[in-house]
């Protein structure tokens, strides 16, 4: 196995059965080492040893797990015991967590082998992975294009055949955007669906960990491993969903809602066409669609950025050089902390900390933060209303295909505007899956299927049916089998 290829979990397991996890893992590591896309920040030096342990069934439960010996890539903001976790920031360089995130515990219990930690926008703040301290990740479809963000590394390595599956996190589209730009499948589960314990917070009230894969079934497999209640996360909810059961090829009678607000000014013509073609396909498969109104969509972006930055300004206060990561010396603690933060944080992170601090300050708190919360409630109501009439909503994940590296990074507002279709979903806390629905000029287009709270089974069923009845997922970047 020398050539990079897409392998779903079942293929990987077949391969392990005929050879070994060690061999499969080594093959992935080989592909990673030859890669030019810069998808990983850190390679797990213990990956081979772990694979050997699974092969020998040393951990006693490895071979029984649904991911026994299966390699996985993990976004660099999810805590991995013994493996450096930096959030692609200089400030966390050298930080090795002494504990595993809940999802990592679950993955290891299921037998997974961690390949490494994937590149991302610094502290998940971005839409292009260009704000990483460790350099941007290249889009496997076109090395001049961004992979999307902030989980750009996690989506790119799956698309490039450098990992069969990966985990990302989605605060305002950070799983769905890179999944769309890299032509793979990514799920943002319902808020509370997966424990955030161990996920390094950017904006706590908005974000969820989410899986990225080359097919819908793998998303279900991963979710069955990592989803569910965890007493260590007070926002996780007791709700039993068996994702595997939702893999049914049948959308007869499915009611789809389509909102013009998600095809707003600035949308790429090719993207619009691909998404409408997908909706047409669903109709052919037995679903119906209707126009619905989401009147507060245009306010969502402003509300999202104010809430996210406010929370971020507080979440990132702990990076002061005292306990972990970078430390710049100073004559007293305050000087040390200031210098550390000045040197350790990148420009976008500083911008968001400053804006968030401003939005929470006395005199501005009501005008910005409280107002944003009120708008959030209105956006939520849009979804509640819409989803009481239809089963799912469909929309383009991103208004355009992947843009050029460097094209928007100097213009933060232009970059923020690309999140217009993904952030409302985080404000409402509902689940959404992005999957490929066509190519525009050789670049993938993402279709977003949005469902009601904890109704992942409906969007998974729709996504699975679409996958079974189209060949969009058969298309791969050049050089990947």
């Amino acid at each position: 196995m020398s050539k990079a290829k897409w392998m779903g979990i079942s293929k990987v397991r077949e391969s392990i059965a005929t050879s070994s996890s060690e061999e499969v893992t080594a093959s992935y590591l080989d592909t990673i080492l030859k890669s030019r896309i810069n998808g990983y920040v850190t390679i797990n030096e213990g990956a081979i040893a772990r694979a050997q342990d699974i092969d020998k069934n040393k951990d006693g439960k490895g071979h029984d797990g649904v991911l026994a010996g299966v390699p996985i890539a993990i976004k660099d903001n999810i805590s991995t015991k013994g493996i450096q976790t930096t959030c692609s920031s200089k400030i966390l360089q050298g930080y090795v967590p002494p504990y595993n995130a809940h999802v990592i515990e679950r993955l290891l219990d299921a037998g997974a082998v961690i390949l490494g930690k994937t590149n991302m926008d610094e502290f998940a703040m971005g839409t292009s992975t260009e704000s990483s301290h460790y350099g941007t990740t290249l889009n496997p479809w076109d090395h001049e294009k961004v992979p999307g963000g902030s989980s750009g590394g996690s989506a790119a390595v799956v698309a490039a055949g450098e990992a069969p599956i990966s985990l990302g996190s989605d605060t305002g589209g950070s799983v769905r955007c890179p999944a769309a730009f890299c032509g793979v499948v990514g799920l943002k589960p319902t808020y509370g669906g997966i424990s955030r314990y161990g996920l390094i917070s950017y904006a706590n009230s908005l974000e969820q960990i989410g899986p990225i894969a080359t097919n819908v079934s793998d998303i279900a497999t991963i979710m069955d491993v990592i989803g569910g209640y965890d007493p260590r996360d007070s926002t996780s909810i007791k709700q039993e969903i068996t994702y595997q059961d939702s893999l049914v090829d049948d959308v007869t009678g499915l009611k789809i809602g389509v909102s013009d607000e998600y095809f707003a000014e600035g949308i790429d013509e090719g993207v619009e066409k691909s998404v409408w073609a997908a909706i047409q396909k669903f109709e052919d498969m037995g679903a119906t669609w209707e126009k619905i109104s989401m009147p507060h969509t245009k306010y969502a972006l402003a509300s999202y950025y104010i809430i996210a930055m406010s929370e971020a300004s507080s979440n990132l206060a702990r990076f002061d050089g005292t306990r972990h990561g970078l430390r710049e010396e100073g004559e007293n603690w305050h000087v040390m902390a200031s210098r550390t933060r000045a040197k350790g944080f990148g420009e976008e992170v500083k911008r968001r900390i400053l804006l968030g601090t401003y939005a929470l300050s006395a005199g501005y708190h009501d005008k910005y933060y409280l107002k944003a919360l009120k708008v959030r409630t209105l956006v939520k109501q849009d979804f509640d209303k819409a989803l009481s009439n239809v089963d799912v909503l469909m929309a383009p994940t991103m208004p355009t295909p992947a843009f050029k590296i460097g094209e928007k990074i100097e213009d933060p507002l232009a970059l923020y505007l690309t999140d217009v279709n993904t952030v409302p979903i985080n404000l409402a806390g509902v689940p959404s899956i992005s999957m490929p629905c066509g190519l525009v000029d050789g670049l993938p287009v993402g279709l977003q299927i949005i469902g009601n709270h904890f109704d992942e089974s409906t969007i998974m069923r729709a996504a699975y049916s679409f996958e079974q009845n189209t060949d969009h997922l058969a298309k791969r970047p050049a050089g990947v089998e």
């Binding site: 903001n77 002494p98 504990y99 955030r196 314990y197 007493p231 300004s313 990132l316 933060y369």
Partner: protein, 473 residues
Amino acid sequence: MAYHNPDGVMIGLEIHVQLNKLNTKMFCGCSTKYHNDEPNSHVCPVCLGLPGSLPVINEKAVEAAMKIGLALNCEIVPQTQFHRKNYYYPDLPKGFQTTQYDFPIASEGKVFIEGEDGEHVIGITRAHMEEDPGRLLHIGSIDKSKGTMIDYNRSGMALIEIVSEPDMRSPKEARRFLDKLRNIIEYLDVCDTTLEGAMRFDANVSIGGGSRAEVKNISSHKGAERALLFEIVRQKNLLRRGGTVVQETRHFDEARGVTISLRTKEQEHDYRYFPEPDLVPMRVADRTAKVAETLPELPDAKRERFTKEYGMADMHAKALTSEIRTADFYEEVAAKIDAKICTPWVADVLKGELNYRDLTVESFKVDDMVEIIEMVTQDKITEKSAVDVIRAILDSGGSATDIVKEKGLIKVEDDVVSTAVLEVIKENEAAVTDYLGGKEQSLNFLVGQVMKKTRGRADAVQAREMVLASLNK
């Protein structure tokens, strides 16, 4: 007589009570029993604020907070919520403190104290839950220190912050309020107030309706009284010299007994409070009644019951109920001995001897107390000997029985005393003549001689009567 408060002193207090009797911290499973352990040995990702860690509310802490709220006659909020208070300090590992803001667990209560002019009511603004920061240890003195070490063992300990209305009119009333509060906290069994840092105080002081100064870093009741006295004098002097009191935060230097300006109003932090997104609002309304049922009898109620049940004066009831340990001790003694008899022995004698030695009632055994009182009532030892036995136990230990034996304190029989009386009258002719000649003091001398002969075991009053009887024959 009504108290006029000539200087218009207004004092409000903020008291931090550490819930050190809980098994675990406010938001994680770390043990609270760190006081004798190595620094940073009771820590985990949560109380170290490691990236990615999340808080989980300790339900027992919520229960304790509700108990405190109810004991302070507060309203318990139906739904409570945590907020983040953002500021940078090395002892604060997350860069914010998880605390409560606009939905504190308890508010609008009151506490009754012995004021300058009788019973006085102190309003309780609120009581809320929060987490303790870590502790800074300076190498050497704070200003010359070469380095600072941080111990996060205390980080994340559950605190209840109680905020009073500015209803105290003198440092004495403030001290009384703090005593009362400590008393209530001890009754609730939520805090061992003897442990370091168990109760800490900040005070707001103003005079004559002027601006208030906030005094921080007060760690004892005595310190509170001193800090307040200093601050009132400082403000009065300032006004007398034509100055004005500015709103500011001041630091109490316990060693020097003075307050020093830390920062003025303009330099105050903007804490940028916002709801803690990692903790969802918590409904407690359906639990309040149940928690109320678990409340023990509180000091005021116990004091009233003592006067009724044991027929004691209010002064005694107050002394006995001012500490739960003393009240319990008394009731154990009173279960075995007539309450009327044992009340002064515990409330006056034992408490007086304990206070003199700065000891608590835990230094004394109920059985010893019972035995000593019984020996007095059975006329085996004198009251004076009983006091000596109590002192001996407190000073050098031992049981009542042994001490009585060792010191030969058993009262001597009457005939021994009468023999002594006869001998004394025979041996001191001059004194007898003096007395009969009208010199009253000579009687005292003769009684003293009898006591000397019986080595103090005779009852002095009885000996006096017997001497008188012999002389008047």
